[in-house]
């Protein structure tokens, strides 16, 4: 499968006052055409920032300090801001976490669509835009008559459908969903996830699914990338990650999910807390909490190492296998 998005050595930092937070550090990752890539990590792991970077939405106080991002062969980092803006929303669309706050409270739903459609196609008439909106919304189970309503008149689940509709209406090739169901209850969550699955097939989309929920990943993703403290810890096909996680963090993450079939008396947790992004510890970011940490982990940053077909992990425990970077 060819790559749709290529991220190479990307670093993003946020500068506020005297402190600089390194949100993303030297991330190399690719998204292949037609796949669903699950991007997993705790809060602060950098997964959302990565998503924004691909959208070109990193603005001051955020800065991309190094690396390249390519979309469909086009270099996003050195694109003019106007070109980038037109690409955004047309070829790549984003679905946000909180449907309650993602829509403009004083704009009708229909107007959200019309404005959006006309921003990318100045020739589109209001009529045409309106019918495009109604078609998409019908696909999602929202009757056309509701196009003149305001966001506050919809429930959370319906608003998220509207967001999905907005993401689809211009026919993008990639959708980045940033925790699309975190703010919804489980029943609605199931509906939205099913929706995404169906739409992906129907419209031949590629999907980056950003979440902290391993359950969603298990259900939806083809491949999984695990992030920790702004770095990629492990990337592997979904089944592989669940059956045979290589990185200590991934292992700990999976271990901490309670198993409904086993009678656990004590919940497994990962001791300690995520590192500070403004003052990260030297060496491997996970070493303070890693049960397998040794001397080298405290001193050097592990590079990603190939661990099997389509799989890699950044851990010194996996030394003895050829380093990935030498092929570049």
């Amino acid at each position: 499968m060819e790559a749709l998005v290529n991220i190479d050595g990307l670093s993003v930092e946020y500068r506020t006052g005297d402190v600089t937070a390194k949100a993303v550090q030297d991330v190399t990752l690719e998204l292949r055409k037609g796949e669903t890539l699950g991007l997993v990590g705790e809060s602060g792991s950098g997964k959302s920032t990565l998503g924004f970077a691909v959208m070109g939405l990193i603005r001051p106080p955020g800065y991309i300090t190094s690396g390249e991002i390519t979309f469909d062969g086009v270099d996003l980092r050195h694109m003019g801001s106007d070109d980038l803006r037109l690409l955004r929303g047309k070829k790549i669309a984003m679905i946000f976490q909180d449907p309650m706050t993602s829509l403009n409270p004083v704009k009708k739903i229909g107007d959200h669509f019309i404005e959006y459609i006309q921003a990318h196609d100045s020739n589109a008439s209001e009529q045409k835009a309106r019918s495009m909106a109604e078609t998409v919304l019908a696909d999602l189970g929202i009757p056309g008559s509701r196009v003149n309503d305001y966001p506050h008149q919809f429930s959370g689940g319906m608003r998220q459908r509207v967001m999905v509709g907005l993401a689809l209406v211009l026919g993008p090739s990639l959708i980045i969903a940033d925790e699309p169901t975190t703010a919804l209850d489980v029943i609605v969550e199931a509906q939205i996830l099913k929706l995404l699955k169906d739409l992906k097939t129907k419209y031949s989309l590629s999907l980056i699914l950003i979440t902290h929920n391993m359950g969603i990943v298990a259900e939806m993703a083809d491949r999984v990338a695990v992030m920790y403290a702004g770095k990629i810890a492990e990337v592997a096909p979904t089944t592989k990650i669940f059956e045979d996680p290589k990185h200590p963090y991934t292992k700990a993450l999976l271990d901490s999910i309670p198993n409904i079939l086993v009678e656990d008396k004590i919940l497994n947790t990962i001791p300690g807390s995520p590192p500070s992004l403004t003052d990260p510890p030297p060496g491997c970011p996970f070493h303070p909490r890693c049960p397998y940490a040794f001397e080298r982990c405290r001193a050097e940053v592990p590079e990603s190492v190939v661990t099997g077909t389509d799989s890699e992990a950044a851990c010194f425990l996996l030394e003895g296998v050829v380093a990935r970077h030498s092929s570049k």
Partner: protein, 327 residues
């Protein structure tokens, strides 16, 4: 709430001082004269009678009787002075909102040093005594540079005109409006010229609040999800800033406009005095100097009613602007 306002005025002006007529005259004035005055003004009746009379009279547009000389009703005089004040506050308000929103939004968007400047500007301009600012403007633009007139509403020799329809004169007393309606361009330009300095002085001072509020609201709104989502859809930055961020940031500001109007009126009194504009402000001060307490009472009542009306209009306006409130 109107009732409470009106009652407060009544209590302060009528109940607390006892007999206002006594205040007007010197201590050793002729008692018969005082008694006569008191009777003429109906001030010798029991308080509760006066109170009901006061309220009843207001319902009919009766704002009391003047204590000066010939016991003229105060109402017509108030109405004749009102347009000048209305005109001044209207234009000052426009200046205040325009400056406030523009500068506030500017600071919120730019951040850094310009933003600090905007913040300080907001505090500084509001701390300015409006009459002092007026004086500085008069000095600079009227006296050192002979650009604009410094007092009054019209230059000598220019008469206010009115719209005539079928021989009947319709005159609002608002010169900028009347002159446009009657097609008299000379008068219009003259009236506008006279309004520039006072409206700017008053408007600038009041803008301080709007600057700070707009800035704070904009900063918060720019960080909200729907703004990021709008950018993610590839909308032009201009659209995002105005149609999404500013439009929402402005809503809470509308809610304070009623309150600001009251402050505007206070400032108008001082501005009118400074620029010698014959409006309600100067009328009020004038009547106080003449110790015409019933007229003062009438004027204050009128102002209270005015503020209440404006607050009501603002509430309706807000419902129109925020769809979440409408239903």
């Amino acid at each position: 709430m109107i009732m409470i306002l009106l009652s407060i005025v009544f209590i302060v002006m009528r109940v607390l001082p006892g007999n206002p007529v006594l205040l007007r005259f010197e201590k050793n004035a002729n008692p018969a004269l005082i008694a006569g005055f008191t009777h003429q003004l109906g001030l010798d009746r029991p308080l509760y009678v006066q109170y009901f009379d006061y309220l009843w009279g207001l319902l009919h547009g009766n704002f009391g009787t003047s204590m000066a000389g010939d016991f003229e009703p105060v109402g017509p005089e108030i109405l004749s002075r009102f347009p000048a004040t209305l005109e001044l506050t209207f234009y000052a308000f426009i200046v205040a909102v325009a400056v406030g929103v523009f500068v506030g939004a500017f600071g919120a968007r730019k951040g850094g040093a310009p933003d600090e400047g905007v913040k300080v500007f907001g505090i500084l301009i509001y701390a300015f005594p409006v009459f002092f600012l007026g004086m500085i403007l008069q000095l600079v633009f009227g006296i050192w540079i002979h650009l604009l007139p410094v007092t009054g509403r019209l230059s000598a020799g220019i008469q206010p005109t009115a719209l005539s329809i079928g021989g009947v004169q319709y005159q609002t007393g608002i010169y900028t409006l009347d002159s446009l309606l009657s097609g008299n361009l000379t008068e219009f330009i003259d009236a506008v010229k006279h309004l520039i300095l006072p409206a700017t002085a008053l408007g600038l001072v009041i803008s301080g609040v709007f600057v700070r509020m707009t800035r704070a609201n904009m900063m918060e709104t720019m960080r909200s999800d729907f703004v990021t989502a709008a950018r993610a859809r590839g909308l032009k930055e201009k659209t995002v800033v105005y149609s999404y961020a500013l439009r929402n940031a402005m809503l809470p500001i509308v809610t304070i406009m009623g309150l600001q109007f009251a402050i505007l009126l206070s400032g108008a009194i001082l501005t009118e005095t400074e620029f010698s504009i014959l409006g309600l402000g100067t009328y009020l001060v004038d009547r106080i100097n003449f110790r015409d307490y019933t007229a003062v009472q009438g004027t204050v009542v009128f102002l209270a009613l005015l503020i209440t009306t404006v607050s009501l209009v603002v509430d309706i306006l807000y419902a129109y602007l925020d769809p979440r409130v409408r239903l």
